[in-house]
């Protein structure tokens, strides 16, 4: 254990020291090869120009290398693998895709994913907006926001344990130690094993993600609401608009862009959601989602990389429109 801590510390030193040494050394080398000081005017100008051509690449080089190895190459390779069999050697055309769309579990995952996509981003954005508006009006709003924001720091696995405890089931008539069943029993209902109720269990899993992400939506939307010019609201109030009209016709249109950002961010997260399903049900009782199914195929029976890759590609295809939209938005603002 001590050796492990020591090796971690050494790595930090080597990593950070190495980075500094690289950036400093590469710069120094560049200055030595193309000196701009102590040489005649023409040569200095020439060398400065050459430096200007090379130096940016010294700066972005390491980042480009890592991003290429860890993101760009894998994306291309995954696409390649999705057309190959489980060993990754034999080309099998679109057989994996045909398998996927014929597979019952895959179709169930797609259905569940659509359900998640329909509910979670909407619920988070709506609740986040409501809480942002309400907390803006009271003196202890900051404290309230902090507490609602807090789950964002908790891991999906931690959150799963927290909620599993709430959904805990004991036989009818016994003392319920799960909060939800205790309430149900207290109201005279029948306790249920919530996470194994087909179809409805999806919603009990979604609650976890909504619980985590509402704080995110709230913080972003709260900042956007603060950015709305007072005058527009005052003018509407003077014109006799009621609070709901002010909210829907004045405030919402002005923060529409932010709502879209929050919505898409949570949408991407939902597509990637894996930990919650793995820890709560591991896809049993018809609660499978694509990300967990993909993980399953990576290792199931020694792993079928072809099918795993195919599912990854399908998740990617779902994200693609958002990616294109993101790049367009960024380009519209223009790289300064």
């Amino acid at each position: 254990m001590a050796a492990q801590i020591l090796s971690a510390i050494i790595t930090i030193i080597i990593g950070v020291g190495g980075a500094i040494a690289y950036f400093w050394g590469a710069n120094r080398l560049l200055d030595l090869i193309f000196p701009s000081r102590g040489v005649s005017g023409m040569a200095a100008v020439d060398n400065l120009r050459r430096q200007g051509l090379i130096r940016p690449w010294l700066f972005v080089g390491p980042a480009l290398l890592i991003v290429t190895v860890y993101l760009i190459y894998p994306v291309v390779q995954t696409l390649y693998l999705s057309f190959h069999d489980r060993t990754g050697e034999n080309f099998i055309g679109t057989a994996n895709y045909q398998w996927a769309f014929g597979d019952r579990e895959f179709r169930n995952s797609i259905f569940n994913n659509i359900l998640w996509l329909a509910v979670v981003p909407a619920a988070c954005t709506f609740l986040g907006l409501v809480i942002a508006v309400l907390t803006d009006k009271i003196w202890w709003g900051t404290i309230a926001k902090s507490l609602i924001f807090l789950p964002l720091a908790i891991s999906f696995v931690g959150a799963s344990v927290i909620w599993k405890f709430i959904y805990e089931y004991r036989g009818e008539g016994q003392t319920q130690i799960g909060l939800l069943n205790a309430i149900i029993q207290g109201l005279g209902g029948t306790p249920q094993v919530w996470i194994s109720l087909p179809f409805w269990n999806n919603f009990f899993l979604m609650v976890i993600l909504i619980w985590i992400q509402t704080g995110f939506a709230m913080v972003i939307l709260s900042a956007a609401l603060r950015g709305i010019p007072e005058e527009t609201i005052e003018a509407a109030v003077i014109d006799g608009a009621n609070p709901f009209q002010v909210f829907w016709k004045i405030m919402i249109p002005q923060i529409w862009g932010t709502i879209a950002v929050v919505w898409t961010t949570i949408t991407i997260l939902v597509l990637k959601v894996f930990d919650i399903v793995l820890t709560m049900t591991n896809g049993q009782w018809n609660s499978q989602v694509l990300a967990n199914l993909m993980f399953d195929w990576m290792f199931r029976g020694g792993g079928d990389f072809g099918r795993g890759a195919t599912i990854a590609i399908i998740i990617m295809v779902a994200v693609l429109p958002i990616m294109v939209w993101n790049i367009r938005q960024a380009n519209k603002e223009g790289g300064r």
Binding site: I20, R55, Q77, G88
Partner: protein
């Protein structure tokens, strides 16, 4: 708000009151789940299953079963054979309200009352657990079975924490998590900072393409990269004859996954720094390297802090990358992985699960509460660009 209308928008007494109530309800719903595991982790493990955690401050009542000592403990007193003692033995003190000798009627007799068990045999069980079994003839056979309803006072303990930290392996996983998280947070910062500076303030062909690529990579699902990287790691491991699941491997993986967001966040911040600063420094003969190190880097401290918090929370809370790139041995299992394993192996042991869960979330919570300002700033910069 619902009551208000016209110019008194939301200002009427009931409107105001309603807002307070509504926010309070939200806060309660959002904090209760976490509070539940915190309280449970501090409770006695028998009490956790005996009553809901929301009852933990009142006494919990449960029906227990015990056996009185056998005939060897009897003494002869005034012509009767008597066994005396305390039913709790060395266990924690409880209060008995009722008892019985048949499992079907465990609360047949009031505590303190002498129960007639037939054939002149009497049993008296007092609220404090002391009992007197008295018989006209010598007692034979096994000790008498006794059922009783007991209520234990609330008992809070740190025992669960001692258990999970030292014998369940959570302590070791905590160290593993730190080993993964700290380098995986620090390494990307340097690399991203240089790249962000170049992309914000240096002119070179291909810059726009790189920026667009980085923004595109922001949304690439992690799942896309796992299989090829796993193959790559296995290949490298085979080639050099080293293990494929190493800390170095996961540090680099987290660095790669964190870089697009880091570069994007840092670049948009650095691009917003005043142009005059760079220009006057350049006129003074400073090189890009000096400008970066002496001007841009110190000014970028807030955004560096934002990214560091993000990356730290992200890596600490990650499960997927950890179970793909690290082994499941105790020397490499991180907290999230350990918690996931415990959910499988100790599914019903809530004292272990709640305590372990609290150990895994305590670090993020501390980071979060102490550095919330930077965290929020990072969120805003990352999501509401220019807003």
């Amino acid at each position: 708000m619902a009551q208000a209308s016209g110019k008194s928008a939301g200002k009427s007494f009931f409107g105001k009151f309603g807002v307070h109530i509504a926010v309070l309800i939200f806060v309660v719903i959002w904090t209760i789940p976490t509070l539940g595991i915190l309280v449970s982790s501090l409770r006695d493990k028998d009490q956790i299953i005996a009553s809901g955690w929301w009852n933990s401050f009142s006494s919990s009542t449960q029906t227990e079963a015990g056996r009185l000592p056998g005939p060897e403990a009897q003494v002869e007193k005034d012509g009767r054979f008597v066994i005396e003692g305390n039913i709790f033995g060395d266990g924690p003190a409880r209060t008995i309200s009722a008892f019985g000798v048949r499992s079907a009627t465990p609360t047949q007799f009031q505590a303190g009352q002498a129960a007639d068990l037939g054939d002149g045999v009497t049993l008296q069980l007092n609220p404090d657990g002391t009992f007197v079994l008295s018989s006209p003839v010598a007692i034979e056979g096994r000790g008498q079975r006794v059922y009783y309803a007991s209520s234990a006072p609330p008992r809070f303990t740190t025992e669960n924490y001692e258990t999970v930290l030292f014998s369940e392996g959570i302590g070791r996983s905590f160290i593993n998590s730190l080993t993964v998280t700290v380098p995986a947070t620090i390494i990307p910062i340097m690399i991203a900072a240089f790249a962000a500076y170049a992309l914000a303030w240096m002119r070179f062909p291909g810059r726009a393409l790189i920026i667009a690529t980085i923004i595109g990579l922001l949304v690439v699902p992690l799942q896309m990269t796992l299989i090829p990287l796993l193959q790559l790691y296995n290949g490298v491991a085979l080639f050099f004859g080293v293990p494929s699941k190493t800390y170095l491997g996961i540090w680099l993986a987290h660095t790669g996954f964190g870089l697009p967001f880091a570069i994007y966040l840092l670049r948009s911040y650095m691009a917003g720094l005043p142009k005059e600063l760079m220009e006057s420094a350049r006129i003074d003969g400073a090189s890009d390297f000096e400008i970066f190190l002496k001007i841009v880097l110190p000014l970028s401290f807030p955004v560096l802090a934002s990214f560091a918090i993000f990356q730290f929370l992200w890596v600490w809370n990650d499960l997927l990358v950890a179970i793909v790139f690290l082994g499941s041995g105790s020397d490499q299992l991180v907290l999230t992985g350990k918690l996931n394993a415990l959910l499988g192996s100790r599914g019903g042991d809530w004292e272990i699960l709640t305590t372990s869960a609290f150990v895994t979330i305590i670090v993020p919570l501390i980071v979060f509460f102490s550095l919330q300002r930077y965290f929020v700033r990072g969120l805003l910069a990352g999501s509401v660009k220019g807003g």
